[in-house]
Each structure stands twice: as C-alpha cells, then as structure tokens.
Symmetry: C2
Subunit: 687 residues, 2 copies
C-alpha cells in the first residue's frame, strides 16, 4: 500500500452545504460516534458512591468484566469512591440495570444494537446481546454531566445501532513491530469508539511477526527478534473478544514477501538470496506461484494460524504485485503457457484461487486487497478497496465494482491515517455517499470500512498520535447515520473524545511533550510548542521521498514526529481570518496571535543553539516569523493604519510561496490564512 493515497478532494466543496443538515439538538451532546437516535428529558440521576450495577438475562462472562471495568472507569472520572467493587450479577436497587437476551458472538453481523433510558432513579440499558450492552456502556460513559458540585446522568432515551457491520482498524506491525501494550491500549481506544475489527498486517518486506512453530525460521531470521508468540496472539484475541472486537490476520502474498523469502528463498520467483528490507517502497521479491512447495508452505502456515485466529476471515494481501520476477523467469513463463494464463494477472488469479481453496477448507473466508478481484475469484471473497484518485482511479471504484459484481467489500481508500491528512478529509469519506448509484442489494454488500495505519514512519512511541483522535471521526462515519456529518460539530466533539481516550492510557497527547522535552534537553519547550502547533508532518508519501530517506531504524523522535495532522491552532487561525474578513472577528485578536509567532523565532534560535538536532527547523521557524510579519502588515493596511509600498502584496506573496517549503519534514499550516489577508490588501489597493 505504498502508492499515493486517495484523498477525495471533491468532497471538500460539500462541507458547507452539508453543515446545514446538522440536527441542532446534537450540539448539546459529546458522544462520538453519535448515537442513531437520542432524545433528552428533564430529570437527572446522581452519581454518588452508592452507584451500582445489576445484570439481568443471559449474557457472557464478558459482560460482567466489562461492566466492572465501566464501574471503575466511572469512578476514576467522578472520584466518588464507589462501594461496589465488582459487578457479578443481579444487585438489588442498582442504579444501572443491564438486561441482555443472549450472549454475543464475536463475528460479523452480530447484533450490536442497544437502548438506554435514563430516568431520575434508574438507568435501563437493554440489548439483544452483551456486545450491544458493551457498546451502550461506552455511550453511557460519554453521557456524564456536571451541575452544582455533582456528577449525574441527564434523563435521556437512546436507541442505537451501527450503520455498518465492519468497522475496522488495520495495524501494520511489519514495518515497525508494535509491542503488546500498544495493541492493548489501542484495543481500549477502539472499543471506546465502537470499532469492532482489528486487522493485523503480520507480514511484509520488512518483517515477519507471527512466530510459527511449523516454520520457526521465519521469525528467527526475518523479524529482528520482534514478533508475536502464539500465546501473545491468544492474549490479544482474548483482550479484543472481551471488548467485542474481532481480530483478523493478514499474511501478504505473493508480493510484499521479502521477509518470508529471507527465511525460505527457495519459495521465491528468482534464484537468489534475500535480505530483510530496511526501507519503504514496492519491492520485487515475490513468491513463485508455479511451485507446489509454495502452497504446501502456505497451507501449513494458514493451518497453524487458524488454530489461533478464530475469526471467520483471513486476509491474504495480494496488493502491489508487480510480477517483475515472474516476467524475468523462464520457467514461470513456461508455466503460464502450459496453463493458458495470458499474463501475470492471470497467474496471480491462479495463485489466489489455490489459496482460497486452502482457506475454505479451514472454514475461512478469503479477504484480499482489491487486486484479488478477478473474474474467476469466487464471490465468497471479500474485496478490500484501497485505491483511489492518487492511484489513478476513481475513489470507491473497486468498492462499487465489487458490490455490483456480487462481492462483499469494505473501504479503506480515504482512511489511510498514516498519510497525515486532516480529520475532516477522512470524516467526509463515506462508503455509500448520498446519491450512490448502487441498488439496495448492492449497498448491502458494502460491509463497512477499515482505517489503515501503515508503519513506515510510525513507531510505538508515536503511533497513538498518528491514530488518535482522528480515528474516532472515521469510527463515527462507520457507526452513525450518514446524516451525521457536520465538520465543525465533529471537531467540537473530537476534542472531548481525545481527552477520554487519554484517560485510557493512550499517548497521543503526551508523545509531543516527551519529544519536545527531548529536543530541548530541559529548556523551556514553549517556543517549540508554539511552532509545532501550526505545522503538520508532510502529507501523503512526500515525507519519505523514494522511501529512502528513512530506514526502519532511523530516529523517529525528531521534529516531524512531534507534529501531528490537523494542527488545531492553525485551523482555528485560518477560520478566524475568514471570520475577520467577513467582519465577524476582531483585528486585535488576530494581531496578538501573529505577534506571538513573529517574536517566537528568536526564542527558537536560542534553543537551536543548544540542540543541534533542531537545526532542521531554523528556516521553518523563520518562515513563521516572516509570514506573521506579513500578516500583521496586511491587517494594519486593511485597518488603514499604514500605507504599504507599491506592489507590497507581490513581494509578500512570493515570501508566502517560499514559506511553503518544508522544514524538519513538516509544513506551515497558517499560510493559507495569511494569503487571504494579503489577497484582501490586493483587492483594496486595486480599488
């Protein structure tokens, strides 16, 4: 998945129009995902130390544990020192009564619906399965209110169920291995926003992360000692199960197979030895689909994995297979002739069909990236749509084609969080947008979506800040009705959910301070914070040109790693410029912000002197100062305080263009706002 992402630019135009569809009532709530139906009453139920929970009906042990965890989390939030320690079953006079009809199964299409009724004396949480109840508990935790020194639940009625059954997160644990605690805390975060599939990308050119007992060599020589044991994967699956989350493995074949070929070069399409890949990109090492040993190997591997991964689905990758080594191989070319395979595409199909059969025998449904969708592929396969405009195709093209052809399918195009686009960009990508050409039956085949976290530039210390809170907005897209799509309201709620996620142990906010403190070595980090708050890491695949600037072992605790997508301060500044130009924002407020930026550079310079590692941001910091100065001059002119030299705006525009240049692998995000100010000057001068 290294080709440029599929940011659906066209959707931007829709933002303002869509905004008007927001239900005004929703702004009083803090939920994310927003429930399908929510109505407020007038009463309230106090949360005090006697708050307790009762369970009724038929449920899995999972629910007693989750209800206990809810109790402790609520106690942490409110600090009431609850008397009830654990939730074990029926409890007399409990404030929260959870009723469930049947234990939930951790599988696709399991019922996750629930209803909540809060009255002044009691909360009823009802669900068909305990999975629904678990989703409802997360909603309830997002419903706490404060008044006159107390915490309480406001009276309300919620009826909720997911729009899509498949709401996933793909973690690439091959490019950079992610330790168990990273997986655990991200499962907590996933559960908090009602995601229900963890897709583990366990193999790629840079590392094989499943410790096979059948083929121990895989991790012995192709993992740098970083992999998951059977027991660890069982622990992950159990932890996920507890939260109502499926875990699906991926072994990426026949391309992206360098790691496998380091261990077993005899399975490759070229007679050579292989070394573990340390850089990013699309590489040539490919399994040889003409060799029976390849199928023997994969069958044994899949069998072993199936004893651990109990999910109904198994992902075989299949993306970006360029077939260079196939074309170069005489024997493979002969095989193609012999089997009437017209091209490498046909050969790939041949390979997939054999694997599909192996997996079917194991009771698994095959899933693969969209390249596996060929005419002969059985309709039981699930098509994972990932390409879009940046890959030279229309967004959702393969998604819609799959649905029309009778395949079930999910969307990842537009949900690549590692590419550092804004939350709004991702939020407005809808698997089934309004006005979709698909029939109802075809729409049903679109199971949902998965956000992807490819880890070329991501390490355990920074992965949370690349995932969260943006992933929460995509989670809402996949759970809530399509009509919930107001960007401003999303950003309002995103800040709140961001804090909720931090309470779960996520490091998305703390990672920045840790890196900035490291970079300043004990000096005041404020000037760096001021700067980092208005930059974003270079987007798409530009940060790592050719995949060769960063190796897997490069330092990932530098300036760009402290920067995050969606720089809030910059976004707000640009918004404020818009408001100012429309006469709805004070010049003074803008000027104060700009003055801070103008003066920041001197402070940054003094930090750079002490920390050579910061040299890479010298120009970036100067550019902020220069552009802020231009902004101040523009405002002064607009406010008629100063006369600008002729053609000032042309020089300024040039400076602003120059300031677009990256620094420390990040880009300034306030230039668009300042450009608007300069344009206004131009308009006024020309009048």
């Amino acid at each position: 998945m290294n080709i440029k992402s599929t940011l659906i630019k066209v959707i931007f135009c829709g933002i303002l129009l869509l905004s008007s569809t927001l239900n005004a009532q929703q702004t009083q709530y803090y939920h994310m995902p927003m429930p399908a139906n929510i109505k407020a009453g007038n009463g309230k139920l106090l949360i005090d130390k006697n708050f307790s929970i009762s369970l009724e009906g038929r449920y899995d042990e999972r629910l007693t544990k989750e209800a206990s965890r809810f109790l402790r989390r609520l106690d942490q939030k409110s600090g009431r020192f609850f008397i009830q320690h654990k939730v074990t079953g029926e409890t007399e006079n409990a404030e929260l009564v959870i009723s469930v009809s049947q234990p939930g199964e951790i599988k696709l299409h399991e019922d996750e619906s629930y209803s909540i009724t809060v009255s002044p004396t009691k909360i009823d949480l009802k669900a068909k399965t305990d999975l629904g109840a678990i989703r409802g508990l997360e909603t309830l935790l997002q419903s706490i209110e404060v008044e006159e020194g107390n915490y309480y639940f406001k009276s309300l009625i919620i009826n909720d169920n997911p729009r899509f059954a498949w709401r996933g997160l793909m973690l690439d644990v091959s490019r950079h291995y992610m330790p168990m605690d990273v997986i655990y805390r991200n499962l907590d975060a996933m559960a908090a926003v009602k995601l229900n599939v963890l897709h583990l990308h366990l193999s790629d050119d840079q590392g094989f992360r499943f410790q096979s007992k059948t083929f121990p060599k895989l991790t012995e020589v192709a993992s740098d000692g970083l992999y998951y044991t059977h027991q660890e994967l069982r622990d992950i699956i159990s932890y996920a199960d507890q939260r109502g989350i499926r875990v699906m493995p991926e072994i990426d074949v026949p391309g992206h197979a360098t790691a496998m070929l380091v261990a077993f070069p005899e399975l490759g399409s070229k007679d050579t030895t292989y070394t573990l890949e340390r850089y990013a990109g699309i590489f040539d090492p490919t399994l040889d689909p003409t060799k029976d040993e390849v199928y023997v190997f994969l069958k044994a591997l899949f069998e072993e994995m199936s004893t651990i991964f109990t999910d109904d689905f198994f992902h075989i990758g299949g993306d970006e297979n360029m077939g260079k080594h196939w074309t170069e191989s005489k024997s493979i070319q002969e095989f193609k002739k012999k089997h009437n395979l017209a091209d490498n595409h046909d050969l790939h199909t041949y390979f997939n069909l054999r694997l599909q059969k192996v997996l079917a025998e194991l009771g698994k449904r095959t899933m693969g990236w969209e390249e596996i969708m060929t005419t002969k592929m059985p309709k039981s396969a699930v098509i994972h749509s990932w390409r879009g405009e940046n890959e030279g195709t229309a967004a959702r093209k393969s998604l819609n084609e799959a649905a029309k052809s009778g395949y079930e399918t999910i969307l990842s195009n537009g949900y690549y969080l590692d590419l550092m686009y804004s939350t709004a960009d991702h939020y407005l990508v809808d698997p089934i947008p309004e006005g979709s050409e698909l029939s109802d039956e075809e729409k049903k085949r679109i199971l949902g979506g998965e956000m992807c976290m490819w880890s070329e530039l991501v390490v355990p210390e920074t992965i949370d800040s690349r995932l969260w809170p943006r992933a929460a907005a995509i989670a809402e897209r996949l759970w809530s009705p399509g009509s919930v799509n107001d960007v401003d309201d999303m950003y309002r709620r995103l800040e709140i959910i961001g804090l909720e996620l931090e309470e779960l142990g996520l490091k998305h906010y703390t990672a920045r301070s840790v890196i900035l403190r490291k970079l300043t070595k004990g000096h005041d980090i404020t000037p760096l914070r001021t700067l980092v708050e208005v930059v974003e890491p270079m987007k798409g695949y530009t940060r790592n040109p050719g995949g060769t600037m960063y190796a897997t072992y490069s330092p990932f605790s530098l300036w760009a790693d402290a920067a995050t997508a969606d720089a809030k301060v910059a976004r707000e500044f640009n918004n404020n410029v818009n408001l100012y130009l429309a006469g709805n924002f004070d010049a003074k407020g803008l000027a104060e912000q700009l003055t801070l930026w103008k003066k920041n550079h001197t402070k940054v310079l003094s930090l750079i002197e002490r920390s050579p590692v910061l040299l890479e941001i010298k120009e970036l910091s100067e550019n902020l100062s220069i552009t802020a100065t231009i902004g101040l001059e523009a405002i002064a002119f607009i406010e008629k305080d100063i006369a600008l030299p002729a053609k000032w705006y042309e020089t300024s525009k040039k400076s602003l263009e120059a300031a677009l240049e990256n620094g420390g692998r990040t880009e300034l995000q306030v230039i668009s706002g300042i450009k608007m100010l300069v344009n206004q000057v131009e308009v006024q001068v020309k009048q």
Copy 2:
C-alpha cells in the same frame, strides 16, 4: 511493610557540612550515578552519521544487543541518521571500540567495572565482563556534549566500579499488579542508572501474582485474574538479563499470606475461610507452621518457581508476623510446648529453618526481612534491614547487627520511595556512613541496598512518578563513592537524568498532565499545575489512615496522584527565601512568585465549578492564596513599604499553621519559606 518509615532526620543537620566536600570539578558533569573517577581532557570526538561501534574480545550475545540499543539511543538523541544498523562484532575504523575479556554472569559480585578513554579519534571502552561494558555504555550516553551545531564526546578518562554489589529495586506487584510494560520500562530505567537487582514481591494479602501450574487455584481465586505466567516471568528475566539485572522473587510467609489462604484455607492457623484483602494494613491470616502440608506446599511451590527464577537468592518475606492466630490456636500452643518453642518468635524461627533447608536443597540462598534474623538462623541467610526510627528502633540497627553477627545484609530502611519523602532524605541515607563503628570485615557483609515501592497507593499509571527520578539518587548512593553527596549538585543532575529516563518511555513526567487534563476536562490546566507544583502527597502512612480510606479498587487518578514528592518549585522558593534573608536574592523575584500564587485561587475556583472531583482542593488552593498574601505583606514590611498592624505576625502564624492542613491528600510545601519571612518580620518588629 506497613509500619511508619524510617526517615533518618538526624542526617539533615549534616547537609550543609557535607556539601563542602563536593569536588568542584564534578559540577561540569551530568552523570548519575557519578563515576568513581573521571578526568576531562581538551579534545572532542564528533558524533556524525558515520559513528559506529566495534566489539572485541570474548563477550556474551547480550553485548551485541546492548551495543545496538546504545547506537539507536544515541541516534535518537542526536538525530544523525547513523548508517550502522546493528552492532555485530569487529568493525573497521569504528569510533567506539568495546573490548571485553569474558562474558558476564548475572549473579552477585560479578565484575561491573569499566574504563572509558575518549580521544579525538576514538573511544575505548574496556571492561572485564560485558556487564561492565553495559554499565559503561550508560555512562557514555550521559556524556554527550553540544558545541557549534554538533554533538560530540569530550575527551575524558573514566575509571569506574560500583561501591556496593547489590543495588536493587523492590516492586510490590501484589497490592497493585503491574503489567509487563511497566516492568519492562522500569528495567530500562534501572539499567540507565546502573541498578542490578529487581526484587518482585509476588505475594501478599491483596493478591498472588505467580501463576503456579502445580497450584493453579492460587491465581484462579486470589489474583483477580492479574498475574504473571511462567512465560511472562521468563520474558522479564530475559529482558533483565539483557541489561545485566538479576531478578529475585519473594513469596512472603508466614504472615502477609491472605491470598494464599484464600486458595488453601487448610494451610492457615485458624479454622476459617479467607477473603482477598482489599485494604491496606497488617492482617492476621498466617500459615500454620505446625502443619506438614504447609512445607509440602511451599516446597512444591519453591521448586516450581526455581525452574523459572534462576537467581541464587530467594526471598521468603517473614515480616510483620504478629502471630495472633498462633496464640489463639490450641493445637499450635501444644506444638510449641512439645517442641520447646518458648514463644511465637521461636515458632517463626522453626518455620524459617525448615524453609531455609528446602531452599538450600534447591541451591538457593534464603533471604528475608530482618525478622528472620534469630540466633539459630544459618549465616548463609541474607538479612533485609527495613525498620528504623519510625518503627521504634535505630536506623540501620538490624543492618549493623547482621553484619556483626556474620550475616550478609542489605539496607532498605530509608529507601521506601512510596512514602513520598524528598530525594535529599533518601540520598543521604548511607548503608555505611562515614565513621561507621563496623570493622572492615563487617562492612564487607553489607552488600548494598534496595529501594522499595510498596503499591497500596500506586497503580500502573502513577508508579513511574513515584519511582523516578528519585530512585536515580539512591542508585547513585549505592554505586558512587560515599563522598559524592552534595545535595545541590544531586538535584542539578537529577533534572537531567529525569529527562533521560523520559526518553526511555517512563511516564513520570507525563502522568501529571494526563491526570490534570482528566480533572479539568479540556479546560486550561495551568492553574492546577501552578498549585500542584507546590504541594506533595501526604507522607509516610498518613495519606491512607488506618489503611481504610483507599481500597485497592479506589480511584488513583485524582489530585494527590498528580502530586509528586520533592516539589521542585516549592523547594526553590524556600531556598530563595533563605537567600533573600541573607541579602542574596531580590525581593521582586519573590514577590512575583507570591503574586502568581495569590491570584491563582480564582482560576482554580472556576475549574472546581466545572469539575466537582476538584472540590477536595478548594481549601488547599485558598490556603496557597492566603499564605502568599502573608508572604507579600511580610516582604513589603521587610522592605519597609508598609506598616503592619500590631501583632500581625501572630495572626499570620496562625494562618500558616492552619494552612498546614492537608487538601486532596496533599500538603502545601511553601509554608516553611513564608514562615521564615514572618519570623523575620517578628524580629524586625521587636527590634
């Protein structure tokens, strides 16, 4: 270990005297622990992307891994994008050459000495064992300098070796279980400050944390599902081994045994059933030393544990056995008569001797808290000295007695980090203080010390902030020469090591922000930060009176959990008042600080309104405002700006006394400074 700690107050008087012994040269260094011998030269060796490492001699694979880890850590710090990926052995023209004579063994008294010579072209790190080399690598990482846009190592010669062979950290994982990531990151921190023993307190009244395959019931019913598997413990031991750290288990018997008795009540001294303890304190449940089944059980358990814990030492606890159930039991009383055991103390000795024999057969040396030191105890036992003045005995009494009686022994009295005393307090506790009455032979029996982290009030989210950076100062006490004891210089270096530790993933600094953000729910945390920076959690056992205010499941993410020992801002303020009164500090500087505190309360009040969980600090915040006002008035008077009403100082003193009252289980730390100001007023008025 619940009796009041042993803060050695008498040592305070020595601080100023000892300060003068500081070697002035040391202040140019940032190391902690300070090496035994260090001399600077004039040249420097540049750190650029070609920096590489070569290994020579006979070493364990441990060293290749640690040298590779060093390389990556140095790259993270300097951001040079090193070309060398891994250290594998001899490398031509390497800047850092590590020479080792023999592989190290992870056992007591293994050679940890090393020498470093930095010249402008090469660094020589020489050590007898790879353990010494690993210690040296940590020293080298603390030796990075900056000049003119570059990172470099300054020319120097270091000859270093530890003062004590046993430098430990005891983690109580029973009161609150600590997940694997907590253990891992704390092992990293231990290695960074050259600690070499992790002592795991695996059983107590609140939980049994070793998953026994022989006795699965132990964790099934007495762990709340929180325990370490064999594999997890092997992983911990391997991770520690990699860093040259021993891992010693403790099963605390015969007291502190509630968890064991929940599973096997038949082993208890009273015919009853037991429930897992949820509170803190000293409890009655005790193993019955008259039953053979007890020894059969413990023998099997110890045997099983010995297959995992390869260390030569095994800790059997033995502390705080009050023997209440022994006294109450008719059969136990009869047993005592029959075996000529005069009292419960004798019976405990009988018990220990039988266990000692079991452990000896397993090739283990028995270690226990000081209560096991009885006349009959074999001299092969190691005595763990923990009681002191607060327990009604002299500091180091049992330590010295043990040494004199022929036992090897280590000190923990004065090193209880969970009690939240200042770093200086701990730093000045020396196992063998100058002028010790012990003979050289007796001194040799003092192997070192262990800091203790009892976890009644500590959870995974906060444990780092309770351990670090204070533990680094104790690590220095145990590694460096006793003459390295300047408190100011220790604090100077402690700040730097604190940041180094954060780079390793420790959460000691970030935990505060996370809690404060939780408490303010997205509002500006600055006012809370201002307040929390001048308070400390209640010390000793006062925060949890009677052990009943907090249960194990109480919320530990409230105000007191955001506070840490050794409030730096308060310490500096009090120092500045001293300087001011001596004519060496500006009144204006003090007044600015006091004005900030005076005005802070209004802001805190507005936060409390939004977060009822903060109500507990209302008076505390008001007290800071009141005392700051008094400080401002005192300064104004001292500076002769205002005339104070008669007896102003008496009213003020009363207010200051009242302000000593705790708030949110924390105490204001600036009152002593303000008292000094008021006393000065009194002196001036009376003149």
